[in-house]
Symmetry: C2
Subunit: 290 residues, 2 copies
Amino acid sequence: MTKKELISTIKKKKSFLCIGLDTDITKIPKHFLKKSNPVFEFNRQIIDLTKDECVAYKLNTAFYEAEGVKGWKNLEKTINYINKTCPGIFTIADAKRGDIGNTSKMYARAFFENLDFDAVTVTPYMGEDSVSPFLEYKNKWVILLALTSNKGAEDFQISQKTSSPAGALAKAGANSPKFLFEEVIEKSSRWGTSENMMYVVGATKAEMLRDIRKTVPDHFLLVPGVGAQGGSLQDVAQYGMNKECGLLVNVSRGILYAGPGKDFAEKAKKETIELQKEMMEILFNNKRTR
Amino acid sequence: MTKKELISTIKKKKSFLCIGLDTDITKIPKHFLKKSNPVFEFNRQIIDLTKDECVAYKLNTAFYEAEGVKGWKNLEKTINYINKTCPGIFTIADAKRGDIGNTSKMYARAFFENLDFDAVTVTPYMGEDSVSPFLEYKNKWVILLALTSNKGAEDFQISQKTSSPAGALAKAGANSPKFLFEEVIEKSSRWGTSENMMYVVGATKAEMLRDIRKTVPDHFLLVPGVGAQGGSLQDVAQYGMNKECGLLVNVSRGILYAGPGKDFAEKAKKETIELQKEMMEILFNNKRTR
């Protein structure tokens, strides 16, 4: 999918909601367990319920791999079902892959050829040649981890180098040292363009979006962490939205497991509609004020 | 597998060779393509040929995922075949996974429960809570990426912070700033122990092993990059070996594709034996000099 097409979908649906299909067989309503394929059946119903209000689906590969071959079959069935029944929807393999060049090439083949996803999340640790094989595909996207929503983000992404005594750099008249995630965004923004790269920035660190926008004003940001992880949609929009929206806000557990029993459909739909309405308002205000 | 058992296997086989089963259907000898399952048949023959000279097999998940459901079946068949026919062999899922806690838990389930691997490679970018779910399994291992063998390692793992003008820290009397990979090793060495964590250090950066050994004298290091990527076994041993060996040196393409046609078996066996002999000599000298 092109950036233009994604923006057009956002405008049409008045939504920038991404739904994370992190489907855990131990958490779905019990009555699905009687079905021959509980995970796929649950996914199918969630997709049918929510496809008009969201612009993207994100499939977290871990939840499928945990079930082995059967899980990988469900990953395949689910992406095929989305591609067949939801024209114009953006699809993300949340796989957090990345390896030496000839291996990343294989991962790109897995998610862009064998499975027809629009985007794959990639981890930056191994540098440019671990990312570039994914960028060779036309109209496909890399979504690079920058600043994640978990506590562990503090370990390296926003850690200060431990051997630099506080004040040493300031005394020497140097600029303050950059955080790793800032280095990642700066360097990697030269590997691709805003037409084939996005960044993951957690909603739990929303105030940092303001500075990130100075470096990558035009890139889309995939923002997890709203809902179960405690991030706020209003904060994300305030600090991270650009004039073309530039955001995909992901909600997983907050929609999937909104209702624990047979009310799952009603509750999931209600939650999705509420999020879409809130997003519609944000988009309307964003348009008005710029 | 415990550390003691791994060391005992190394002593018994006089080898610290890990063979990487990065099986690419476009590179295996043509005559395999007539078989009903070329990739598994190739793996089976390579395993039968080499199991007496190596102490570990490393399966690169990308090469299996690229083939979709069939590939994941081959991953499963191959690990099951190794576990059945090679008692005492250490097995590694080279998957480079890592995500927020509840997702890493699913990856751990995938590789330690659904597939019975001894170890999985994990990327450190998301910090402690992305790694710790893997460490909860008894006698299973995390092999954390530290300093990889590819060119991209220079982008972040050994990059100097760009905003620190050269000399600024020295002038301020501060210690020189640490490289990211050094921070990763230092911090993460407190998350687990040398009984459940190893590090990936590329053979192409062998001289850096000397400093790494000061921080983690007792941890095993998984060393890729000997052979096709240009690293030297002698250098790796010189700078990285500890008194219990402490090394698993991986060779993939150099063995798998040593012979392009029907000579593949003979050539792969010859290459494996040569590596084992070189390792035997290194182990013998290591014992003598300590």
